[in-house]
Subunit: 442 residues, 2 copies
Amino acid sequence: MTNQSTRKILLLNVRADFPPEIGLSDRHPLVRACRRTSWYAEAGDVIASPAPIDREFLDHVGGTLGFDAGTISVVLRDRVLTDEVILAPDFVAELRLAIADHPNWRIMACYVTEGVAELAERLGIGCDGSAFAAERGSDLLNRKGHFRRLAAGIGMPLAAGSVVQSPTRLARAIEQHMPATGAVIVKQHNAGGGLGNVVLAADDLGPLPGARETRRIGPDVAETAEKLWTELSQEHDPGVVVEVYHPAARHMFYFEYLVADSGVPRFVNSGTIRLVREGTAADERLSWVGLELPADLPPHSLAQALTHATRFAVLAADIGYRGYLNIDAIVTASGELIFNEVNARWGGGLVLHTVASRLLGEDYADHSVASSLRDVRPVPLARVVAAAREHGLDLTPERREGVVVLACEPTQTEALECLLVAPSVSRVRELETALRTVVEAL
Amino acid sequence: MTNQSTRKILLLNVRADFPPEIGLSDRHPLVRACRRTSWYAEAGDVIASPAPIDREFLDHVGGTLGFDAGTISVVLRDRVLTDEVILAPDFVAELRLAIADHPNWRIMACYVTEGVAELAERLGIGCDGSAFAAERGSDLLNRKGHFRRLAAGIGMPLAAGSVVQSPTRLARAIEQHMPATGAVIVKQHNAGGGLGNVVLAADDLGPLPGARETRRIGPDVAETAEKLWTELSQEHDPGVVVEVYHPAARHMFYFEYLVADSGVPRFVNSGTIRLVREGTAADERLSWVGLELPADLPPHSLAQALTHATRFAVLAADIGYRGYLNIDAIVTASGELIFNEVNARWGGGLVLHTVASRLLGEDYADHSVASSLRDVRPVPLARVVAAAREHGLDLTPERREGVVVLACEPTQTEALECLLVAPSVSRVRELETALRTVVEAL
């Protein structure tokens, strides 16, 4: 029995760890997000999902990666998989049934929450770091104020900033940190995807990365601070973080680690965040085009950043965290390295990494670039897959370059997300043009 | 008083930590080695040296780096600065006098030995990690067998190998590890610069990196093992390490860290080791041409290697080590990452890094390559410096490319070592050609 491979329960508790006011927003369509994460599945796995993942899409995954997706079962609940949902007796019973025919299982969850630890125990399967998770341990890493403390303790470079506990202190911190660049970022302690962050700027800077909103600060700082405090400080955890904001970063990137049960962090992947400004001057917005793996940094900056990030990952492991860890940083226009935050969950680039690894091998990043496009015109999956194949654009292990449709909405109301892999960035851009041309013609 | 800068005693205890049988060899000329390390000096520093460093050379250092070398004093002993030498009352008294006119001092030593810790205490100046050094703590890192244990404990990739305690075990280990590549490397626990390593090969492989000697193994493994045991096992520390040897490494490189008193390892520099085969087929030897900073590795391999190396540096810091730490690794012909050893001392690349940093800024490696040549025809220092300047080949902060003579023997019996800095490897090679042409004409 012990000789049999370990299968996994892929627990898509996406958004389950967000505070309620953010978790319920629909800015990140759930169906697309769940389809996207189904790329982690391997033969025999069970996917527990808060949104339907249809057979057509699973067959697309299996067909691309070369396994029989018919062996995958889906346990569906039509709501976010909060701890309450995953510990409900009917959910546990359904999972128990789904894993009954195989001896070795583990859970791979987006967030290793208290509920995930409890669920693993009820199912009688292992869950690394569950004692830590049962205490909501990852709050120590994710909470903005805690991150600053832990990072400062090991000498990680941070933006000049303050952790403040009152509107008065907030006003003072804004005045203190505004002069450096003419902008500060005010961060809610517990939030995700920049949704809890607001930038205050002396001039009209337009939309900026890392924040849900950019506001021009008026003459009355106290009033601004009062208003922001009401919006961002959370009742269960009062306080916010204020930092000097560096608007024109030269590099925006992340490193992702996996702390497995050995307690030794393993580097998984790195990537650059690609942003473009879109819309008219009056209605300009910043679009997250996608990610590009590996992170493209010059040698000195890369080595410095990786050393600091690894030191942090070791600290997280020592504290007791097990699971994926994403560490976000920038190099400013003047060449300064600054760490922004960590997220103790799987990152946006892990899907790209997983598909590229499974098709081209673990070392794909030694000779390939894996890039995502999140804004491809929505067309039915079958048609775009067929068209890509017809034009020789589909990614295969033999060709070592091409396109994979990573995610789509079945109703074509949201853009497609595609992965492009090629030996160089310039070749990726050529594939992008070719793909868009093919999709436009559909 | 506390407002005054900290000056340093640059303690050139080169070779002081080698076992006697190696420490007394003259394979690495001491005069050149000491001149080379004088690049660490800054205005007002004291250099304690086992070989003369003349004013002409110090003026060359000061002139290149832009400070008055007349402020540097040299405390000279004409022998290796062993602990016995540096703790002799006359040496301590001379140092005490040399540092009397300034309040703040620290020691920068090649090896932080027991004697260095004791010397610092006698002089009443700080020495990071001295309690650890007083117990010969760095033996835990440098000793080949200990390195394998510590590395294995944190999941660092090592060559398949064994730590053996008898000639019989050595024979068995040779037979066990020979088939993988047709060669094994047998390592003395305590040695430096590959001088304690012998490669055994099934075929005639010629000279190989990382070892003092390559031997073709005969049919009688037991006899070979007996002989090697007698040569390599040390009376004070019996045993050797046997590892699969990977002859044709795709990349040979190191990472250097500094663990300062904060206990957080800081990345300092990385480099590739450049080797060429020289001589006739009958008398072929492998020459260490020089180092090239930063290490040139593809992205996946680099991130994996840096993550492991940083994890090791954190372990060394946790154990209590303070000082420079060099971690050596290769990527084999088949793409496998393997760590070879660590050296708890300053590395060969630190001089290159120091000169490049002081002339071009700490982030020079983001846009420059710093490369050393150790085989330039010996000519008098003044003449080569003048000729380089005349041909516009001298490295200046403004030009951001050029040549610096790093080390030479005053008697011109040994080759010059030169640093070449340029924006790219190809430009470095052009400078190399230009330099050799200029030197040939002298």
